[in-house]
């Protein structure tokens, strides 16, 4: 019998993480693509830092930072938000770790967009925000799509950070990747295979429909 909760948890986590990262990543990438600040290379290097540490170790530091014993943790505790070993903790950990996957492709998209369409929008009286949303983002759709898909898929598969911060509590923080990992650890390969297959099948279906819709849409509005 297959327990579906890990899967729903995984997709919920990936969805929430991607959404929040879009909201954070777009302004950061936009700023990086446009700034002439001398700090730019520093911040660019900093953005990639979460990548170079093993996820478990990142999870470990996030745990340290957000635990009820810490400053931030106790603050959150006071206002009644449970972070570590709960869903919000998974989201925070995933956001931190997947941050570069969102920012990098967006930044390179922004950097290669034709300046003159931005100027045309400004001249048309549109604010930076409106220009970003209605002119630039549609124009860099391939990069946007790739940022979203990498972030989403990566959050689905990631388990190091999530395991450390969330603690594999069934129905609460035990996402599918952890469940599969545990089956492998327990030498229960049969379940591991089944869960992996389900994971692959669902993800493939999701990605395929995204790409397929993208293609159909392109055929209507080619650019």
């Amino acid at each position: 019998m297959i327990d579906w909760t890990p899967f729903t948890l995984s997709f919920k986590l990936a969805f929430v993480t991607t959404l929040i990262l879009l909201l954070i990543g777009i302004p950061v990438a936009w700023w990086l693509a446009n700034t002439r600040s001398r700090l730019k290379p520093f911040i660019e290097a900093l953005v990639s830092m979460p990548l170079v540490l093993p996820p478990t170790v990142i999870g470990f530091y996030v745990l340290w930072l957000l635990a009820p014993e810490s400053m931030i943790g106790s603050l959150l505790e006071k206002i009644g938000i449970e972070v570590v070993f709960a869903f919000p903790g998974l989201v925070i950990g995933s956001i931190l770790y997947s941050f570069p996957f969102m920012v990098q492709p967006l930044q390179s998209g922004f950097e290669s967009v034709d300046r003159s369409i931005i100027e045309a929008s400004y001249v048309a009286g549109k604010s930076q925000l409106e220009t970003l949303l209605r002119v630039v983002l549609p124009a860099i759709k391939p990069s946007l799509l790739s940022a979203i898909i990498i972030t989403f898929a990566h959050t689905i598969g990631e388990f190091g950070v999530v395991l450390m911060v969330g603690g594999s509590i069934p129905g609460k923080t035990q996402v599918a990747s952890i469940a599969i990992y545990e089956y492998v650890e327990a030498l229960d390969y049969e379940h591991a295979h089944i869960y992996s297959l389900i994971m692959l099948a669902i993800s493939f279906a999701v990605l395929l429909s995204v790409y397929w819709l993208n293609r159909r849409f392109k055929r209507v509005a080619q650019w």
Binding site: W64, P68, L163, G167, I169, V184, E185, A186, D188
Partner: protein, 215 residues
Amino acid sequence: AAANLSYVLPHIIAVFKAKNPDVVVKVSYASSGKLAAQIQRGAPFAIFLSADTSYPKFLYKKGLTVTRPVVYAKGALALYSKKIATLAELPNLSRVAVANPSTAPYGKAAKEALQNAGLYDKLKSKLIYGQSIGQTTAYAIRAADAGLVAESAMYAKQMQPLRRYFHTIDPALYKPIDQAMVLLRNDDAARRFFVFLLSPQAGSIFRAYGYTLDD
């Protein structure tokens, strides 16, 4: 709970639940190191079943537990190989999987056993380290020529067809792997399960899965 308990615990829990239908037992498996780190940071666990005694001791010393560490079972090492049947033949092979001695209790025991058998120095360059006993077993059955694994693995459902490749190792070669647990929260349901784990009924289930117990 430590990952090596994932075969036996469901069985024990099933028996426990039959008697205590009001208690919900949820298990979070991970390496003992991770769990210890998490408990230190306030993980909402009620009982910590470690794969050795050092992690519970560590937590006990920090004052994070309700009880002292109590040994609930002892793990035993087994040799898994399709090619050989005794430790002495190991040097003829080229790749031997063991658990990482610095992070896994079974690794520590394996190293000790090899040292006591006088094989460690010869084998040192042929050792491959698994991060957990599960990973070590995976190496042993697929990629390495032999492996020092937990005897309890033999009782995993998947391992039934491979049972004949498990060979026992003389328990005198290593200190028994004392697996200890601590109670972390003082609530009634947790205490009931904690006590149940030490009951003879649980003990017999542990035995049936390859663990040993002091009588």
